[in-house]
């Protein structure tokens, strides 16, 4: 019997025991929101209690709604998050981190810069995974925006049916360093090829705006809700460079 099967069994037979089992998860999530400034550090115990009360009240709904499609531990985390957000909306006060003593909530092992960067890279990859149909075009546009040379594989992934002449033209213009090309030049070249692929007649400006909007979306997602980070177009480049660099030799 897997751990998930045990959880499902407890949800049906002894939900109170299940909530007890997941107390550590509740505390971890509340701590994360304290670090994010959603709650005061001094309210930790109270918030945990509120979450538990809300979970107890939600047991019948969970028994009805949870149909075992996802892992229970993930579903439970989503529920706790929603409870925390409702609790935050009730009080609706922004917590100034510098006034709080949050030393007890910081995990020192995760403060190292390298670990933080690795985590951010993983978050960025996860965010890119959320773009399903748009992903090939998005990856191409990110490379163009951040002046990363295109490879034949990039073009193939974006448009397997790209004509030989278009492919050659794109590689000639973007296959090696193209730092000197400005955005207008880039979109002037790429827009007709994209229109051919998508059977549309978008203007150069429309394609540029599409790229801008996707980058804004990605930055918004990276910064979080509630906001925890301060990414912008420039700092996003670090993650984009890393994402496209798996073939580089380590020095």
């Amino acid at each position: 019997m897997t751990e998930n099967d045990k959880d499902i069994g407890l949800l049906r037979s002894d939900p109170h025991a299940l909530i007890l089992k997941y107390q550590e998860t509740v505390k971890i999530i509340v701590k994360k929101y304290i670090l994010a400034g959603v709650f005061r550090a001094s309210d930790f115990e109270d918030i945990v209690q509120e979450v538990n009360m809300a979970l107890l009240a939600k047991i019948p709904a969970m028994q009805l709604q949870y149909n075992g499609t996802s892992l229970f531990k993930t579903y439970f985390s989503v529920i706790v998050r929603n409870i925390c957000m409702k609790e935050h909306a009730k009080t609706n006060r922004e917590v100034k981190i510098e006034q709080e003593d949050i030393t007890g909530f910081i995990d020192r092992a995760h403060v190292e810069e390298k670990i933080v960067l690795e985590k951010e890279i993983q978050r960025f990859r996860a965010i890119l995974s959320l773009y399903y149909r748009q992903r090939p075009k998005l990856l191409l546009c990110l490379k163009l925006r951040y002046r990363i040379p295109l490879t034949p594989e990039d073009i193939n992934l974006w448009n397997p049916k790209c004509s030989f002449s278009d492919r050659e033209m794109l590689l000639e213009n973007f296959g090696s360093n193209f730092d000197r090309k400005d955005d207008v030049e880039i979109y002037k070249i790429i827009t007709p090829v994209m229109n051919k692929n998508e059977k549309k007649s978008n203007s150069i400006d429309a394609v540029r705006k599409w790229t801008d909007s996707k980058i804004s979306e990605i930055i918004q997602l990276l910064n979080g809700n509630p906001k925890k980070m301060n990414y912008n177009e420039d700092t996003l480049k670090t993650l984009v460079d890393d994402f496209f660099s798996p073939f580089l030799l380590e020095k």
Partner: protein
Amino acid sequence: MIGFSMVKVHNFFGEDAHLNEEALALYVDALKLNTVYSLPGAILGHVDDCQKCKSEIVEALSLVEEQTYSVREPHPYFSNNANSTHASFSLPYRIAAIFLIGISIGILFSLFRSMKDNQSVITDSMQSVQVAHPEIQKSPTKEDGKVNQQKILADNFSESPNLENLVNSASRSEFPLVVSPKNNAVVSQEILFEWNVQDGGLVSVTILSNREDVLKNVKLKRSKFFFSGKLNPGLYYWKLEREDELLYVGKFFVK
């Protein structure tokens, strides 16, 4: 029914037409287990266009970042739907698809039979020529050179005897713990290769086809390699090496 499984009907959307809590959790599971493209098409399509749901997923993912999600443990959705398509098809499409598949099979079958007949006629005539003129070497006919599409597909999945022996051999003194992909894993186009090797140093990662052709080779100091190239459906192998030492050989399938 050929090619379609009975997909259990799940309700993934709330009254506000956004993903409900279980669907959000399922997406997070998919991200943790690297099975995003096995999600139902309805979920993928909605999230593709919905910033709100994307935000919810990203937040939920951050809450479980320290938790371990093992690909070895069966997943209630992904394990059961491993061989099913992630889009559900309506009845007319299914009937049309079966009709087209039937016609295609009929055409392939008659082509195959006619190739076989021609081949046996030519072989017989060649044999009689060879009997008369033993100095004449049997040369390939057009039919020999013609590629049977079904044979290609089967060939793409056939095992390499040399590499299979290496996959099954685990008697190395320093066996790295490979995190992903697990042997015989079925992966999508993007693959994360991850391992733990003691003592660091430069490690070489090589991806090979089942015909032992080298498709990609990189040398890395880090213990992860994200491959996003295009691989045709088939069986592939990958090797981890350090200097002259073979550390690991694994295999995976691309669907």
